[in-house]
Symmetry: C2
Subunit: 299 residues, 2 copies
């Protein structure tokens, strides 16, 4: 395992089919599942690790974003990464970043209006990683459903040759979707947060049983969240996987996504529906059997 600091060094260190896993570090089993997926189809697996200031809409969120390079490098190596590309801010943004990449329409809903500039920052930094590393495949978690759709569209619209793969959500044993931000949750906030995944998985059952009405799928989530009086909801939306446009009916590949605050921590979660009108399958993700490495355990 090698640590690189520049794009040029990273390109030189890669050979054969290159799989890229972009992360902001403070790894959990969700990231490790991306590395494992990349390991499967690649000769060289590069995990990038960069806390991208461009995509933070709140300075406070950027300031408190957890960091531990040594821990991340060990975890990435154990999961099968060949290279950890951990650039300094000077390599990523040597001057003022005047060039910006926007994916119109797909940024209009859900996270877009709630996090001004966020997706411009994501699209711009991912374009840099793809241009600078030239991977054959890149791997993104389905947890950031809208981000995944935006990256897919950007790669296709900008004629990048690489393929984008979406990897299922990894959940804690009780269902909470893994996120580096989960470490900020108190015991009570964590209990309340469980209503998000519980509601989404209930809606997944409904959809697999034939429910197509967005209102009723959303209601299944709201009912669960309603049992936790301390959750502050931002949205529950059913949207198309391709264009992230809200749907009245589940009639194409879609995802049902929720964003909410539990205490001072903003959480997102979703269930993807794959298939077509003949039948949809809910992607419930996978569940850890033990406590996540986020909490200092050994996984």
């Amino acid at each position: 395992m090698r640590i690189t600091k520049t794009f040029a060094e990273t390109r030189t260190a890669t050979a054969g089919r290159v799989g890229l896993v972009p992360t902001m570090g403070f790894l959990h089993e969700g990231h490790l599942s991306l590395i494992e997926a990349a390991r499967d189809g690649s000769d060289t697996v590069v995990m990038s690790l960069f806390v991208n200031p461009l995509q933070f809409d709140r300075d406070s969120d950027l300031a408190k974003y957890p960091k531990d390079l040594e821990r991340d490098v060990d975890l990435a190596a154990a999961a099968g990464a060949d290279i950890v590309f951990a650039p300094e801010a000077d390599e990523m943004y040597p001057g003022e970043q005047l060039t910006r990449v926007n994916v119109n329409r797909l940024s209009d809903e859900m996270e877009g209006p709630n996090r001004p500039g966020h997706f411009e920052g994501v699209a711009t930094v991912v374009a840099k990683l793809l241009a600078g590393i030239q991977p054959d495949r890149s791997y993104f978690g389905r947890k950031d459903a809208q981000q995944l759709a935006i990256v897919r569209r950007m790669v296709s619209d900008l004629s990048f040759p690489g393929e984008v793969l979406g990897v299922p959500i990894v959940r804690e044993a009780e269902g909470l979707a893994l996120s580096s931000r989960n470490i900020f949750l108190s015991v009570e906030e964590r209990a309340a947060a469980l209503t998000l995944s519980r509601g989404l998985l209930a809606a997944g059952d409904l959809a697999e049983a034939g429910e197509r009405d967005a209102g009723r799928l959303i209601a299944a989530v709201l009912v669960e969240i309603g049992t936790a009086p301390d959750i502050s909801l931002e949205y529950v939306t059913l949207a198309s996987q391709e264009l992230v446009q809200p749907l009245d009916e589940l009639d194409r590949p879609a995802f049902l996504a929720v964003a909410a605050w539990s205490g001072g921590t903003r959480l997102i979660d979703n269930v993807h529906f794959d298939g077509d009108e003949a039948g949809f399958v809910a992607d419930r993700g996978s569940r850890l059997k033990t406590k996540s490495i986020l909490y200092g355990g050994e996984g």
Copy 2:
């Protein structure tokens, strides 16, 4: 010489160091000088040929843009191109182009406000060509001075590994900068248009003689243009090569650029000033000895 229609086919057809010359076709000696420059440092020279609708701010301009693929392919081959990449619109824009690349600040002045959306269209299509073809070097004419600055910044900001080279303007024997649009000029309009290059070259002489004041350099251009009552001027501006910001004084690498209409044809021209405060050299470009191939001659 090979003609390719898709990015994938083009990547497969290239080997070794790849030099890219992006064009919109209807070639003249200016384009050929780009191919010759690329020939020098490349194993494979790719000339792309695509009239990019995204960068036309006026439909009438797009509709009447001259096209002749057979002629262009012959000329490119003779000049040393290995591949002409001539995609259909469906390959470049298979769906709605939702992803847009903008280079902020550098688009604010000169051509920017006069041609809304133009540089977004240019930056987006050049990003696609670089992402899809992965050249080691790409070659752009200095005639489109602001475009060259924007492409340079985009390549650096988006961490594309390739180098961008600017190639001097090629002028007709009387000084008129070559442009595919010159074929639309009547005899009188062409005579009037000559005042642009005459003014710019006079300003070049002044700068080399030590003049640093932007107002006086601009005045030298205005005096010449003033002798042709039928020219409708859009701007004469001295701007920095790096950020395309208007300068009061020639105190860094810069270009003095003019845009004007002669009859129904919009023309641009410029002189680049290279060097530093110790002394600047004006890039006057090169001059054809015979009539340009634009007019149906053999060069």
